[in-house]
Symmetry: none
Subunit: 133 residues, 4 copies
Amino acid sequence: MNTVNLAEARAIISAAEAKAAEIGQPMNIAVVDSGGNLVSHVRMDGAWLGSIDISINKAFTSRAFDIQTKDLGDNAQPNQQFYGIHASNHGRIMIFAGGIPLSRDGQVVGAIGVSGGSGEQDQTVAEDGAAAL
Amino acid sequence: MNTVNLAEARAIISAAEAKAAEIGQPMNIAVVDSGGNLVSHVRMDGAWLGSIDISINKAFTSRAFDIQTKDLGDNAQPNQQFYGIHASNHGRIMIFAGGIPLSRDGQVVGAIGVSGGSGEQDQTVAEDGAAAL
Amino acid sequence: MNTVNLAEARAIISAAEAKAAEIGQPMNIAVVDSGGNLVSHVRMDGAWLGSIDISINKAFTSRAFDIQTKDLGDNAQPNQQFYGIHASNHGRIMIFAGGIPLSRDGQVVGAIGVSGGSGEQDQTVAEDGAAAL
Amino acid sequence: MNTVNLAEARAIISAAEAKAAEIGQPMNIAVVDSGGNLVSHVRMDGAWLGSIDISINKAFTSRAFDIQTKDLGDNAQPNQQFYGIHASNHGRIMIFAGGIPLSRDGQVVGAIGVSGGSGEQDQTVAEDGAAAL
């Protein structure tokens, strides 16, 4: 199966952590595989407790729909085509920035989810993580 | 461990109760510790049943993100950066006024959550509770 | 409505706390009203985190069936008449010692739930709490 | 605050992974802090998907009751004092081997949870992890 493995997840998380440290914002960082299942999670010291669940589910959401959570979010606002999608999947759908699909050879092989700062910070850190694959 | 203990939680709740009595609005009042776990809860006679859960989860939310729930709420409206966050953490995220982090020596050591009246009333009562630490 | 009020719940919790202190085992103590809804909860310093939920739900269970949880437990073992009842009510049914109905004038007006030690310790503390009504 | 931090969690997970590799059984390994909240999780390549949740919740359970999950399990069998405890805490209580509290200076500062093999394998791997603190 074409999926990220643990070594790759660690490299992705490590790159994300480096960016979080650089911007001075501790983060929760999670990577899921092509099945949407958690490969690894890290909570940096001092990062928000409420972001454990959010980071894991941003990663899940990005793989679940093969989309960045910020783009899904644009479609999930009131009066948009996917408004209400956050009520599905038993509360696992996150519709704000910080989740990015991981691709290889044109295939989505997993996703990264980051939570712990502003939407912009989460997105920046997730991008650096994703770029490490 | 830097966290509120039961004696402190009781003093906080007592101050909140006094304010609730003063404004004539019975309240549910809850305090969580630095791990987000409930230390104590009180439902004043005549306070809303639905506010039991809300008071506990406002306190959880304030500690989970080290923020007042009314400020989180501002960021959680449609088209704002955290819209949809109320779907995370298994329904425990409250995004309206009444939750306030409790700080000591510059560290968040717990939180108070109040529910039972208008947003303004909840906030006022929570502020008096938080000030008692 | 014939139900415990907050002042009574506090007296019940206070008596339970005194017993817990006497036996040297910190406890979670909860009281629900005649509607099965939480009136007050206290976690003594050092008491188990997992017992927050259990104490509240022992109280709920005792009022839900007007029975001590240890007696319900006897009926809920494999091959007994209520085996499987712990799967009902969304995980709120506790079938081991520590929950006791609170009665006045021959009517159940609420319940106490205690969790934090052995079954025998929980029961002893709950009995002292219930006796304070 | 007296709790495991991320660097310690990683050292614990690393020791557990080494043992899992030695016995040839891929595992899910999780560490929670003193508040019962996840610090880090790792799923080794090929480890069971169903064990993601179990490893995290074994760690939660061990901190929630400051006990090894196998010892809690002994007390949670039919006709034992805590039978039915697995229905509490919204399905987060695991009552079989693989969860161990992490202690420092006589205080529980977190817990490790391991899932992916037999009860004996999970326990062995968790013990090696816990010993690394």
